[in-house]
């Protein structure tokens, strides 16, 4: 029965990994921009929630009401003010500029908050679990996070396929040049895209910080986990990212069951195996 629990636990981990990955996927899918600072933005969201929580006394999830608009605005400004200028220079500028932003965020958080590890406190829900016959136990919080991931992906699906904005996103992703010829203001659209990406980044940041310790240097590993989920699932497929996250989570859970220190490594190994054996991922979809 332990293996069933391990499997369930790993699958539910896929939820938070999918949430990590959404922001990364959106900015790559629409702007062809891999945001190296993505993980640090997740961690930044957690710190913003911490500050808001300390100021208002609200619990972390309620703080999202403030954190989400703040991060949306930050994403919009970042793209409009800085990242839009990197899009025409080839491979190096977006990569190095987002790398620079990553270093600035990490060290800014270090100077501002110190190197202490922190956690957001949500209360009893963190440890509650549902018990099923046969010794099966499912954590309430991981289930909640998985549910949020499903909602997030579902809402993105609606956005992309049922709205004018989503239509514009898909057009720009196909052919930015022609989209502009049809009247789409690409620069503004990219800014909105990063803003939306940051909405999910903020949600991911708060949800992860409730269960996991974080500090200013916690960003890079989050970027790597998001990246692994996207690659395993296949570039360009939103629901594939969820499956990718689940495969990653299950690999980690299996590794952890063998020995706790093996958890992250097991995920990396699964990622490398998929990369070597099936480089386009499990459900590849992008035209490049």
């Amino acid at each position: 029965m332990e293996w069933v629990n391990t499997f369930i636990q790993g699958s539910l981990l896929g939820g938070i990994y999918a949430l990590f990955a959404i922001g990364l996927s959106l900015s790559f899918g629409i702007m062809r921009l891999v945001n190296i600072a993505h993980g640090d933005l997740i961690v930044l969201s957690a710190y913003v929630a911490m500050v808001v929580g300390q100021g208002t006394g609200l619990d972390p999830i309620s703080c999202l009401v403030i954190v989400v608009p703040v991060m949306f605005a930050l994403g919009y400004a970042l793209q409009r003010g800085l990242l839009n200028q990197t899009l025409t220079g080839g491979l190096l500028p977006p990569l190095l500029v987002t790398f620079g932003i990553s270093i600035i965020i990490q060290n800014g958080l270090l100077e501002g908050f110190g190197a202490y590890t922190r956690r957001l406190q949500q209360g009893a829900i963190e440890t509650a679990s549902l018990q099923f016959p046969g010794g099966i136990s499912i954590g309430v919080y991981p289930l909640l996070v998985f549910g949020v991931a499903l909602l997030a992906l579902g809402s993105l699906q609606l956005l992309f396929y049922r709205t004018g904005l989503g239509r514009a996103f898909r057009a720009v992703s196909d052919d930015a040049d022609t989209a502009e010829l049809m009247g789409v203001d690409n620069r503004k659209l990219y800014a909105v895209a990063l803003g939306i990406a940051m909405i999910f980044t903020a949600i991911a940041g708060v949800l992860f910080a409730i269960r996991t310790n974080f500090d200013p240097a916690a960003g890079p590993i989050r970027l790597i986990l998001a990246f692994e989920a996207v690659i395993i699932g296949g570039l360009g497929s939103m629901w594939g990212t969820l499956i990718g996250g689940m495969v990653l989570g299950i690999s980690q859970a299996v590794g952890a069951a063998l020995s706790p220190t093996w958890q992250i490594l097991a995920g990396h190994i699964a990622f490398l195996i998929i990369l070597i054996v099936r480089p386009s991922g499990l459900f590849p979809r992008t035209r490049d």
């Binding site: 004018g164 239509r167 514009a168 898909r170 057009a171 992703s173 196909d174 052919d175 040049d177 022609t178 989209a179 502009e180 010829l181 049809m182 009247g183 789409v184 203001d185 690409n186 035209r287």
Partner: protein, 232 residues
């Protein structure tokens, strides 16, 4: 009245000069053709007018105002739309979604989804299919329809006949006739000289980025065009 006028329009791709001081005038309601061999600069000219290529502000005047410094999407809002060379439909979008995307700028005017389907009835049946699943001729109709959805005063058509069978080309040009009958001004770039001249009242012949010849099409001796076309 003069709708579009270019003044010594020069355009560059990096260090390479593609257009050399082109002067073109298009009056409202006219259909003007631009002909020339491959590489003559015809598409470059349309892209420069449409704002996809950087030019000095006064080089392109539309409705009496300089537009050379505007971006492509701003120019759509001003009333110029393009049916690009090679169709350039969005593969991730259905036929209808491509048309709706054409209306992104929400310019007021007579054209809407229903009227485009009236003009191209076949598209109504195919509207939920991915646009790139259609035949060449149907894709071309979608491209023109997409441009019409922005209610342009000036429609730029780049190589409508490219890769299409003669019978299909004839259908497309019949539809073009209906569009111009509504008063839309059209500049069309064509490799098929006869088609181009049959559909237009005036023509410009480009040769290696320069204007080689311009004249009214009525009664013009087609043989004389050859010299200008090939730069002999």
């Amino acid at each position: 009245m003069t709708l579009l006028q270019t003044h010594n329009l020069s355009a560059f791709y990096g260090d390479f000069q593609a257009l050399f001081e082109i002067n073109v005038t298009v009056d409202e309601g006219e259909t003007v053709a631009i002909i020339g061999a491959n590489g003559a600069g015809k598409t470059t000219f349309l892209r420069a007018v449409a704002g996809a290529l950087e030019t000095a502000p006064d080089m392109v005047m539309f409705e009496g105002r300089s537009i050379g410094h505007h971006t492509a999407h701003e120019i759509v809002r001003l009333g110029i739309a393009m049916a690009p060379e090679g169709r350039r439909l969005f593969p991730s979008l259905s036929v209808e979604e491509n048309l709706l995307l054409g209306g992104y700028s929400k310019r007021p005017g007579p054209w809407n989804l229903k009227r485009v389907y009236d003009l191209f009835p076949r598209l109504r049946e195919l509207r939920h299919l991915p646009a790139t699943d259609l035949s060449g001729g149907q894709q071309q109709m979608t491209t023109v329809g997409r441009a019409l959805m922005s209610n342009p005063r000036l429609l730029l058509c780049d190589e409508l006949s490219l890769g299409l069978a003669p019978v299909v080309i004839r259908d497309i040009y019949d539809c073009l006739g209906k569009i111009t009958a509504e008063g839309t001004t059209v500049v069309l770039v064509e490799q098929d000289i006869n088609r181009a001249l049959d559909a237009s009242v005036r023509f410009y012949c480009f040769q290696e980025g320069r204007l080689a010849l311009t004249a009214p099409t009525k009664g013009f001796d087609r043989a004389a065009i050859g010299a200008a076309y090939f730069g002999i």
